[in-house]
Symmetry: C2
Subunit: 711 residues, 2 copies
């Protein structure tokens, strides 16, 4: 049986003259290998029926035809009548015409997929209140086939928990991408608006297939040029291309645009001319793009202009923009990732301190966009204390898909485990069960406006994401934005089935590798609550020795606080007391050495090198153990992957194999650098049984890297 | 019959679930549509036989298997014995073993493809002195099938006319590409040397398929970082990947590297320390890359450092580097595109003036690399007067594939016609028939060292070249580098057959469109010998009004010299006398108004607006006529293309259709800008029957473009 499966698989792999370059993402639609499954599907699916037509419905029909042709190698016609085996696409408003009663979700994006009888004919109904909901249903139906699941007793009901499921592209107008490691920007501004690349369409398809319904095209470090008439035309062309896929376009607004473009002497948000300029600019944009989503703003942070330049606060700035887009149902997403020119006692505290006093002062079409942790997208951070602390304000979570701090494009890091950890974290804002997920989706405080942002890992590499496995993070983000209660395992299993193989043994071993991947990185980069030890500026490789930079909080020594006595950032009452920003139950847990989870230990505590951990190890030995374990875990991933040769596409296998070899080298580099560096404080030995670092600390400290992408 | 063909074609186009994104270039290997042809091929080809194995031979065998599987949908095995219908790959040295006598070309890269009998079995022999020659033969054989030609009476003998057929990549280490319009650099330096992207392999395949055997990886505006040990490892990884495809790697050498990397106080080419530094650097490179090709150098030009900084000349600089690489059989390609800090009376004269005195003074492994014309890759230029003027020095031609001055990635410009014009131009250096082609291939002066350079139009766009039709220029360059006597028509016809369609009517209309495409651009940009009227710095769009820049020869007014009386650059004896740099026969032809070809008229002559041309038109009316004609020609291309809908791949059709619409707008923009601008001098009317420009000159002069790629 196993041998048979292998033969079928090998035949399949061999069918096409060319290997898979990854462009098709999880929408491959390669022929299903299991004859029995194909036979069943061919019997059960005869045609496509849709009484109405629209751009979106036509896309849904074409996707079905393309998908079915690929998967079951049969042309399924779009028929004028309902047959036995029809896939029937119906808006809810039309159900009664066909004497169908079905519980279609209230949410516009929701849908059902159900085997029912129409005129005594067995059909597969996909129904929604909206065209886009039907498109979502079609993608889900195709996924069911891709995963080779039975389709005789379908009864799927889906609706999103979060309203606006948005990608943030940190893409500059010259097509460089800040913190981008997958080539350059997808947006070929030079040939827009005249040329709509097929890639734009496939980008929209991929997003629609996982429910993403918004995209911020431009970098949060914003450029006002995007708001000039010529560039609005380019944005309009993209918006027109994305619209039928249910995707709204957003832009970042540079706060000083009224000065740069409007030649005003100020960008003060309370200045009538400034207010007027933004209102006219918004009207100009909405004239071209009636469903323009709104603005994302990074203000008074890392040198960006903002309302504080004029003695105003974030609410003043956000509300001014919110009023400009409100007449058109636009929203403003105002980032809480701020830090002022003065270095605070603890950067982790700053966003909370600046924003909590403003709770209740934002207009109702403003969301505050909060990174998952208080520092900056580290391999692991405790959840951001702002979550739960602004009950009157809808808060978005900003997650980072691009691997700025997780090994860029050469490290395999499945991030759903990180995201899941964030969503499930309990803030205790309204007692036990007040998870970050419930704050983001608005349910905890009954906000009707909800949104989530993922900083895209997408570039113009053929496979979109650089590392082939990084596709899984785009996929996982979309799935979690739709339903943050999904588990990482479930999402991985879907993605693997669609991307690699439905062979259980192969899929299981890939899943295991993915599930452990992020923890391996935590271990060899920043174990036990250590954070921000990365190389200066480009964040490539280890840099625990980074010091003497323009700001203390731009150094590593600021974060690890290692000295002869010990290591860690004391954020308890004896230190910065950042822990007090959490609700009491959480604050107590983190502040107390007995209850603080060891993965956050050095985030909250400065401890002596000989501090004893639960394992019985001293802190020094435990740190060393984690660093060595991380590298070993990568070796384990290599072994898993090597065993999959011949069972997955050869081009993917070869590419990932090479990348894992790089990752192993980088893990060892991290391990050696950090262990040697911290040893210079602890003066304690590396246990005898562990391999000695190949070079001395001096060597690692003096490595230099030029032209690292993403800055 | 026609209807039948169409049905077959449509079925074929429909077979794959996805449209063609252009990644496969001319090596598509899609199933052949004509049943009869496929049947014949299936009968005539049974297996592949190769007695020897090497990396290159294995690549040849795999290419055959892949190609045949795609084209005739049959697995052709690599067999241990010769069968009837074997494709037999034999090195010349092995022919006698099989009792075969055949005239294999002397040239290592040459090959034969021949139907012969071995042991009375009819086979197809592909034979060469080298493995790479066999690979070239395999690609040629596959082309024969792609073009659906008969294979019963093959008798092909091929060898290259030029030794080193090289692409120049103006790629920077941050992956921007100077004058690149197809995305960003292919070389993902960050993940090298560990990760060999499939794209590198496919790049090498594509080059090998057209005989390109060298690649300069880095920009002529060079960066010394590429010569550091870490980066040499990255270069080595690419060299290792390219080697089996017969491709040597070259680098650009920044002349000041001994100062920047070696911390020497000087880069004087006669300084012993400098000489020593380069010799050690060369040895270091050759240790890693034993077949490293050598250096390309841009020195003392546009701000680049060079030997003149130390009072030395180009030969001093080139020979110093040549001596460093000579022990390893490396070469130095020294660019003649120079201009000093002092603006000369006529930039067209400068290279000739600087280089002819040095003829005979270069080491024997030095080539001087000369742009096809004396200014800079204009839509049309007379050939460079250096060709023929340095008989003791092997001269390379440098052609530009990337469309810096020909509409970037939005204009369809088939450049083989331009290249053909260059190769066929007669310098009269040794009497009639002393064509540029014969100078480049070394035959005129019996140089054994010969080379040619094409500035690549390749980037990381999925389709490699931005504009789908720009693939044809990569293809044509390779074909002409191999044999500069090929006609543009022949090359176009091959490329179309491999890329689009073997349907004669469709192919003919595509060929016609391609063949006229460059002339259309000449007409709407720079007709009648006008040149360098493009937008400032980025060269996008018209800029005939460009003046008052840091150098006179960086302005348009310098080149067109328009005034109230007339227009054109007087390069005759009454002007700069650049014409005197040509051999007398040519000089007389260009200097004399009766014999000067009208396409070069204003290149050599300043003429009054009412000057009468052969057509009977005044100069003014003729200029206007050309500008309007150019735009109309683009409209004609649009009509041709529209008629091809359904006959070519839908994704290509859609993309090119949009691009032609952009091109038409740009052609009209050029036309209106230039006609209005020149009218401000001529004060003459635009003929009544022609449409009036939509805007006034002021409008066009004030258009601004930001983030134009390529600078």
């Amino acid at each position: 049986m196993k041998a048979l499966k292998l033969i079928i698989l090998l035949t399949l792999l061999n069918l096409s003259a060319f290997a898979d370059n990854g462009y098709r993402l999880w929408l491959k639609y390669d022929p299903i290998g299991q004859t029995k499954v194909v036979d069943d599907y061919r019997k059960e699916i005869s045609s496509i029926y849709s009484p109405k037509s629209s751009e979106t419905i036509n896309i849904a029909i074409n996707e079905l035809k393309t998908g079915l042709k690929g998967l079951i190698q049969k042309e399924i016609p779009h028929d004028q009548a309902i047959n036995a085996g029809s896939i029937v696409l119906l808006k809810e408003e039309d159900l009664s015409t066909y004497k169908v009663s079905a519980d279609v979700p209230d949410h516009q994006d929701g849908y059902i997929i159900k085997n029912i009888l129409i005129n005594k004919k067995p059909v597969i109904l996909i129904s929604s209140k909206s065209d886009v909901g039907i498109l979502y249903g079609v993608f889900n139906f195709l996924k069911t086939l891709q995963l080779e699941l039975p389709i005789q007793n379908l009864s799927i009901t889906e609706e999103p928990k979060i309203e606006n499921r948005i990608l943030n592209h940190w893409d500059n107008l010259d097509r460089t991408v800040e913190r981008g490691y997958a080539g350059f920007s997808l947006w070929n501004w030079q040939t827009l608006p005249g040329h709509i690349e097929q890639r734009y369409i496939d980008y929209a398809r991929a997003n629609a297939s996982i429910g993403i319904n918004g995209t911020v095209l431009t970098n949060v470090n914003a450029n006002s040029t995007i708001l000039t008439p010529e560039w609005i035309q380019k944005v309009k062309a993209l918006a027109d291309a994305f619209r039928p896929y249910g995707i709204k376009v957003y832009l970042t607004a540079r706060f000083s645009s009224p000065m740069e473009l409007g030649k005003l002497p100020t960008a003060d948000p309370l200045d009538p001319q400034v207010i007027d300029w933004w209102q006219k600019k918004a009207a100009e944009i909405y004239k071209e793009i009636p469903d323009f989503g709104g603005f994302l703003v990074k203000a008074n942070s890392e040198g960006q202009p903002g309302p504080q330049d004029y003695g105003r606060n974030h609410a003043d700035g956000a509300n001014m923009l919110a009023k400009a887009v409100a007449p058109f149902n636009g929203i403003v997403m105002w980032r809480a990732f701020v830090y002022s020119n003065e270095v605070p006692d603890d950067r982790a505290k700053q966003a909370y301190n600046e924003f909590t006093p403003l709770d209740g002062k934002f207009d109702k079409n403003v969301l505050v966009q909060v990174k998952n942790g208080a520092i900056d997208f580290q391999p692991r951070e405790p959840f951001h204390p702002l979550f739960g602390a602004m009950p009157k304000t809808p808060l978005m979570a900003e997650l980072q898909l691009t691997q700025e701090y997780l090994g860029m494009s050469t490290n395999l890091a499945y991030l759903a485990t990180l995201f899941e950890e964030v969503f499930k974290a309990d803030t205790y804002a309204k007692g036990k069960g007040s998870t970050v997920g419930k704050i983001i989706d608005g349910s905890l405080e009954n906000h009707s406006l909800s949104a989530i942002a993922g900083v895209a890992n997408i570039g113009n590499d053929i496979n979109w994401t650089g590392h082939p496995f990084a596709q899984s993070n785009w996929y996982a983000y979309g799935r979690l934005a739709w339903d943050h209660e999904l588990t990482s395992e479930k999402i991985a299993s879907e993605w693997i089935g669609m991307t690699f193989s439905t062979d259980k043994a192969s899929a299981d071993s890939i899943e295991k590798m993915m599930m452990g991947s992020r923890e391996a990185i935590v271990n060899y980069m920043t174990p036990l609550g250590l954070h921000h030890l990365m190389g200066w500026n480009h964040h490539y490789g280890p840099g625990p020795w980074i010091k003497n930079k323009p700001r203390a909080d731009w150094t590593s020594v600021y974060y690890h606080q290692a000295d002869g006595k010990g290591i860690g950032f004391d954020r308890t009452a004896t230190g910065s007391n950042a822990v007090a920003q959490y609700f009491p139950e959480v604050a107590r847990q983190f502040a107390n050495l007995d209850t603080c989870p060891e993965e956050y230990l050095l985030w909250f505590h400065h401890l002596p090198w000989d501090y004893k951990l639960k394992s019985g190890n001293t802190l020094w030995n435990e740190i060393v153990k984690h660093y060595y374990l991380g590298a070993e875990q990568v070796k384990g991933m290599q072994e898993t992957w090597n065993a999959l040769e011949g069972k997955v596409d050869p081009e993917w296998h070869n590419s990932v194999k090479q990348l894992l070899a790089i990752q192993y080298d980088e893990a060892v580099w991290w391990r050696n650098s950090c262990v040697l560096y911290f040893q210079s404080f602890s003066k304690l030995p590396i246990p005898e049984n562990l391999p000695k670092p190949a070079h001395d600390l001096d060597y690692y400290e003096n490595l230099e890297f030029k032209y690292v992408p993403g800055i």
